[in-house]
Every structure is written in structure tokens, then in C-alpha cells.
Amino acid sequence: MRAAPLDKPMDVECPLIIQGRETLPNPFPGKSIFYYDYTYPIAQAGPLDIAQAIGATRQADRQTWSERRTQLHAAADAFSYGEKLLEHTIRITGAPRCVVASLLEDIPEWLCSVPKMLEARLNHTIGALPAQVVGENAVKHYAPLSGFCYAVTPGNDPRSTALVAANACALGLPFILAASPLDAVAPLVVRALIAAGFDPRFCQLIYFRRDSDAARTHFHLVDAASAVWTFGPDESVDRTLRYEEKTDTRVVDHFEGKRVLRHNSGNCAAISIGPVSQRMRTTLWKALDFPLGCTATKTLLSVDAPPQTTQDLSEWFASKVVGDPLDPKTEIGYTHPHNIDLLEGMLEKCRLYGTVYGGERLNPYQSRPALIHLHEEYPDLLRQEIPAHVLTLLHSQDVPEALAAINRHTGAEPRLAVSLLGVPEEHRREAIATLRTHAVLVDRPTSEVTPSCHEGNDYLDLLTEGRLVREL
């Protein structure tokens, strides 16, 4: 347990951290859509702040692989947060206290697990560079990418900075992270990294208001970087972060020549065999309790489920405590009204294809969790990811049918993850071989992220220059 209530809780703010120096220039107010009187200051990086950050990364000491992995473990120990930060994140995400605390607890876990996972793969060294034995007398070594990584994080998940930082730090790539104005956790992560011994020029944090003037700042950073880390659907990333219309006929592709990391999958699903046991429910709930996240399970394909499964699940959903997310007893907090509108619209349509349990809107920001039992496949629902508390249940005759249904309703991008709950060994192999998904979790929730390899991105390959070395 790393939460450390402070005697004097620090006020939450979002400063720039450039070369280890924290400043709050030209702050603009951040707001919560759920708590109208809650504001906090966010620094607005100016052109010279950006220039300093860029210049700093160019001089950053990348240290050795050994030093970096030691420091990441130290950063995990150094990371801490207070009650104010916890409450702030609740107010911003609308997620309940237990969920937010769990997300924040993931951060030190990720900072540690990335170097551990890489250590397991990088079983060799060449000089100071980590390497991997790939064959007889053949070793692939991984040099850090030249330049720096520019990352633009979203505001829906407070762990975003940790995901970027853990990988960039482990792999020796300095970064400038433009955190979402909704993310006040980012400074804590960067402070922990610096406290652990990373060169302050290695890890820079900036904020800027994401309005029409932001494009110039953003594209300047993209152009200066060698790698760009993005989150979100390809369509919106390309529209807002990649292409710039210079004139009516000329469009500039700022991603050209860059390593681009995309995180655009989601719409996770699960397959369960037999009754949905208490253990399965516990696992499922871990994948349902944070619907804003891309790792939330949206569809459950149930095979060989007894007739009362739907009733049991609907009663289980109905028992969830809906309330003020700041209340420790609350299990379902606030959701953006737009997402509730989306859910309401979908529930209305779904009544033609199945039975809807729950889903009643309680106020602009809340609805009861919804269970949609489809009697027939409704593609619009099965392909769409609704960021609200909703689970679609579809009964399948057997595992192959469940696998086919999942694949049938997967879009161009594979799903982020599929959980196999109680699926026997012989079907697991088939699932792993045939599912169109980046990750398969066996008896684990889809919300369990493998931070060194998220959404199909193998960061070891993406953030390094790999070279094969063969010797006689």
C-alpha cells in the first residue's frame, strides 16, 4: 500500500517539469465536469519552455541499461501520492475511490514490471547495451533510438504517464510528455523518476491548453522528435496530431520519418465456460469497474451457461452501489453525460434484439449498470465500445462459435484483449491461435495490462534500434 496521507496535503497542480525545475507559468484553470466548483491550476508551456525541453533531451544522459533498470525500481519505491491527489483524480475521472486507488497502485507496479519483463528477454549484453540471444552465435542488441520520444497522453487513465515513462526510461529514450490537462498524476511519476536518479533532462513534462493555438506547439514537438507516442483512435490521431493543412491543396504529414506508437484498440471481450462463478465475477468486475479505460470488457460470450446465469448476473449488477465517487462505499461513480446519452440510445435499440437489465439513468452523470442479454447478434452493439457501465451477454453453443462471434464483430484493429474464464486447455490453444486480439488473458481480467507490451506494441522493438550481430 503506497498511499501516504500527508500531514499537509499538497494542493493539486499541474506544473511543467523541465530539467528538473518545476514551474507554473501562465496557468489556466482545469475543471471537473462532475464537481462544478472544483478547479486546479495547469501550467501553460510557452515556446521557450518547449525549446528548453527539446534542448534538454538532446543533452540527456541516457545512462546504462543496468543503471536504468535499477533506477526504475527505485522510482517505484519513491512514487507516492496523498489524499488530495486521490480525491482530485476521483473528481476528474468520476471513478469511485476504490477504482482510482487501484489504478494509482498500478503505477509503481508498472515501473517495476517493465524492467523485469525486459530482463527476462534481454538475457545478454554487448558492452553496455542489452541484447537477446536469437540463435546460434546470433545476438540482437538494442541501442536506444536516437533523438527523443514525444508522447501525448489522454486524460482518461491516470496510469498513462507511467506506461510511457516506464518503457522510455527502461529503453534509454529521453522523452517529453505532453500530459492531458486532466492528468495531475504525471508530475508525481516524473518526480519519482528524477528522485530515483534519472537525469532531469531525460524526463520532461509539459502541459499546454489543447485549443486551436496548440497545433503549432504540438507539430513543433512532433517535428523535433524521433518517436511519437499517441493514444486514441487512428481517425482522431491522424486528424489532430498527424496531418496539418497548410493550404487548400497542401497537407503536411508530420509523422513521416518518425517511429509512431499507436494505442487505438479496445472493445475487450471475455469467454466463460459454465456457470459464472463468484471467482469469475470478481475477475469480470475488475474489467468492468473502470469503463473509461480501453481495457474494460464489453462483451461476455457465455458457453454452457445454466439458464439462471442471466438472472444471476443481472442481480449481481443491480447490487452494485451507485453513488458519489468520493464515498468509499461507492462502486459506480460518475460518467460523462455524453457517454450516458450514448448508452441510453443503444439500450433503446437493443430492446429489439434482447433483454435489457438495469441501465436506468439516475441523473445527468449516472446510470445503473446495464446488462444486455442479446438473443441474436446485434453488430452495432457488439462492435461498439461504450465508455459506460454496460456488459453485453451472448450465449454461444460452444467455444468455436464464441471465438467466431468475437472475431466476426472485431473491426480492422484487433481487440485489445480477450479473457478466457474457465476455458479448458484444449480450447485455449484454439483461442490463442484464432482470436483477433492483441492479448489473451487466461482467468485474468482484460484490465490487466502488460505495460511492456500494450495494445500489440512491443516497445522493445519500437523504441530501440535493434541490430543483429553474428559471430563465428
Binding site: 510557452g46 515556446p47 521557450l48 525549446a51 528548453q52 534542448g55 523535433a224
Partner: protein, 423 residues
């Protein structure tokens, strides 16, 4: 660069000036054209009290008053009606001469000349001007610009006058200057000329060269003095206005590329090649001062006030040379010669000097000018008299003004961003 120790060498009345003064007061010199242009580089102009200065320039004030009515009748015949040049003996007499404005000022019953000059720019050229002239436009931010005609000799006088500014900024032989100014503007051209004849090595920025190339040139040519433009912080958000080479973009390029440290932005050892930065424009904007303090280790900066109509008018000194002086940044010593600079307010029918602490109109009279004659011309700038003559601890004797700004503040930003300062 001059040092604090030899600043005192500038605080003198040159023997040649005494000879000139004697010749003028004795009547041997009655025409401003007999004053060698180099005389305007003498520091004596800034070291004598006003009463003494007035006696020296009086014959030429009268000369220009007479000339103005005759050779620029469209502008002055009616305005100077009733003003008898021969009847002007004292400053009080001079204060009766009306102020000339470009745009109508109903408050003071002053009629502007912009419309007439716009319709027929030739009225701004004196009829007796024989020598070839060059025209420079000004005041375009408030309407059609009006021309100032100058001769080569006018140029010579003004660039020599500017040399005093260079001295007060500490420049001298052996210094290497790079300037980024727009040389199609009069200020940019005069800057180039005045630096050159002042004996410094001059490097100019080619139009196609951006901030990075300028920094490379600073290194390659071992430049230690930078003349550049500035932008108010607000203008940086307007992309088309913030583009170009200016102090901000040079600092930005230095921060972004570590190989450029040590030129303008100090390197890790705190060393910096640039010893002094001249910032032109209407004023040294707060953002420029902030840049100098935050990123440039308080590099000395100073400015010189001038316009297409008249250069120089006033200047601040290099703070490192005059640490006890008040004349830093936007506190400017008046620079008389070849123009007579006043800060005035209306009093009854006259326009009299303001008292210390008072704000008034900045006016100038081009008493040594072949081209467009300015008689107590108020271009629309106001200033506050900060210190009276002899009061500034730096040792220069002329009054110190501050808070120079356009009466119309919107016009001020436009001038800063789009005027002669625009690089």
C-alpha cells in the same frame, strides 16, 4: 566594448565643439550646412545645459522657420503665419511656435496634414532641395503613410548623431556587430551606416536567414554585439507576426539546439559571446527584459529612439557602463543634434516644456535638414520627463524621459510588430 572605467572619456565637451560654438555665436556660421556632419558625433551636444544649446541652435531654428514657410508652403505657410523667425531670441519665444501634427487634434485645435500629404506627397519635399533625395514613409499604421525626404547630407548628419548612441552603448573599434533589422527601412539602413563609420565590423542578416543561421554567423564571425528586433509576448501567438528573426526566436533556437549555447544564451560554464544587445522599436518591451533576465544572464540591453522623420531622438545607456545611472532600458537621455527634441504641453497659446514627472507630447525640430523640414513636429508620441538636465548620475547632462508611447496604444503594438523594427 567600452568598460565602466573608461565611460568618463565620453563625458566631455570636445575642443572642436568649442570652436564650432564660437563660430556660431560670433556669426561666422549662419547656415546649418556649414556644420560638418561629423560634428553631430560629438558628445558635447549631450553635455551642455539647455540654455547653452539653445543659443547654439537658435540661428538654425530661425533659418528653418524661414525656409519652412517658403519652401514647404502647403504645410507651413498658414501654420506659421504670424511667427517671425527674426523675433525669436529666447526659449520662451520659441514656445510660441505652434506644434505640427499629422492627424487632426480637435482638443488643441490642431489641423493635421496627412490628407494633404497623401493627396500630394511632393508637398513634403522642400522646393529648394537641389540634391537628390530619398523618401522614407512613416505613420502607415494609422492610414496612408507620409514621406520624409532626406538628402545624402541629411543621412550623414543623422548617422553621425547615431554614433553617440553607439558610444553610450559601449561600442567601439574592434567590436563585431550582427544586426537583423530590415534594411529597407530607414532605421535599418542608418544602423548599418552608423555602425560602419563608427569603426565596428558589421554583419547583416540576409532576408532568407533564419534564427539558426544567424546564430551560426554569430559564431563564425565572432560577433559580440547583437542588434535585433523584439516582439511583445502577445504577438507571439499570431504566427505570421511572430515568424522571423527576433530576440525571442534567437533565444528559442539557442535553447533548442545545445550547440548554439554560449553565443546568446550562456553555456554550462555561464559564458556568452554576446556582450550587448541593442533592441530597436518603440520601447524595450517587458517580454524582452524578461528574456534578458531569465535566459541571457542579464545581458546588457539598451535602445535608441528614432523614426523615419528624425534620428536620433533619445537613447538609454548600456547598464553595465552606467550602473548608477537612471538611464536604463526605457529611460532615455534626449539626444539633440541634428534635431531639437522637446516634451511639451499646451499652456495658453504656447507649447511649453513639461515639468518633471509630467507627461507631454514628444516633438522635434529638424534644424539641420535639407529635406523635409520638421518644425515642432509631434508624430503622436508622448513621454514623461523623468529627470531634469544634469540630474542623471551617469554623467550625461540632457534630461531623461521615460514611458514613451503612442497616444493610441493600439497603434503602438502595430508599430512594434510591423513597423521599422520588424525584422
Amino acid at each position: 566594448m567600452r568598460t565602466q572605467e573608461n565611460w568618463g572619456e565620453l563625458l566631455r565637451v570636445e575642443p572642436e565643439f568649442l570652436v564650432l560654438e564660437s563660430a556660431i555665436l560670433s556669426g561666422k556660421i549662419t547656415d546649418y550646412r556649414e556644420i560638418p556632419p561629423g560634428a553631430f558625433s560629438w558628445h558635447a551636444w549631450d553635455m551642455i545645459p539647455h540654455d547653452r544649446l539653445f543659443k547654439i541652435i537658435l540661428p538654425f531654428l530661425r533659418q528653418q522657420l524661414l525656409r519652412a514657410s517658403e519652401v514647404m508652403p502647403a504645410i507651413y505657410k498658414e501654420r506659421l503665419d504670424g511667427i517671425e523667425p527674426g523675433a525669436i531670441f529666447t526659449p520662451n519665444d520659441w514656445y510660441q511656435v505652434p506644434v505640427l501634427v499629422k492627424d487632426d487634434d480637435p482638443t488643441h485645435s490642431l489641423r493635421g496634414f496627412r490628407a494633404e500629404a497623401s493627396a500630394n506627397p511632393g508637398i513634403m519635399q522642400p522646393r529648394d532641395m537641389q540634391a537628390p533625395s530619398m523618401t522614407f514613409g512613416s505613420g502607415g499604421t494609422s492610414g496612408t503613410h507620409t514621406p520624409t525626404f532626406v538628402s545624402i547630407e541629411d543621412r550623414d548628419r543623422e548617422v553621425q548623431g547615431w554614433r553617440r548612441g553607439h558610444d553610450y552603448h559601449g561600442l567601439g573599434s574592434g567590436d563585431r556587430v550582427l544586426y537583423t533589422y530590415n534594411t529597407t527601412h530607414k532605421g535599418g539602413q542608418w544602423m548599418q551606416e552608423s555602425l560602419w563609420i563608427h569603426g565596428v565590423q558589421v554583419n547583416l542578416r540576409r532576408p532568407e536567414e533564419g534564427p539558426e543561421q544567424v546564430l551560426r554567423n554569430i559564431r563564425a564571425y565572432r560577433v559580440n554585439v547583437l542588434f535585433t528586433v523584439q516582439q511583445p509576448y502577445e504577438a507571439l501567438h499570431q504566427q505570421e507576426k511572430s515568424a522571423g528573426t527576433n530576440l525571442h526566436s534567437l533565444v528559442e533556437a539557442s535553447l533548442e539546439k545545445p550547440e548554439h549555447r554560449g553565443l546568446l544564451v550562456p553555456d554550462m560554464r555561464g559564458q556568452r559571446q554576446i556582450d550587448f544587445v541593442f533592441l530597436g522599436g518603440f520601447e524595450i518591451v517587458p517580454y524582452a527584459i524578461q528574456l534578458a533576465q531569465e535566459y541571457l544572464d542579464c545581458v546588457p540591453i539598451a535602445t535608441l529612439l528614432g523614426s523615419s522623420e528624425a534620428i536620433p531622438q533619445a537613447c538609454s545607456t548600456n547598464p553595465s557602463l552606467t550602473p548608477t545611472g537612471t538611464c536604463h532600458y526605457n529611460n532615455l537621455h534626449l539626444l539633440h543634434g541634428p534635431h531639437y527634441i522637446e516634451v511639451v504641453k499646451p499652456m495658453n497659446q504656447a507649447w511649453v516644456p513639461v515639468e518633471k514627472g509630467e507627461e507631454g507630447l514628444l516633438v522635434y525640430t529638424s534644424w539641420a535638414r535639407d529635406g523635409t523640414i520638421w518644425i515642432r513636429y509631434a508624430p503622436g508620441d508622448v513621454a514623461t520627463l523623468l529627470m531634469g538636465e544634469g540630474e542623471c548620475p551617469c554623467g550625461l547632462q540632457t534630461p531623461v524621459i521615460s514611458g514613451v508611447h503612442r497616444k493610441d496604444l493600439n497603434e503602438q503594438e502595430a508599430l512594434l510588430v510591423e513597423g521599422c523594427a520588424a525584422g
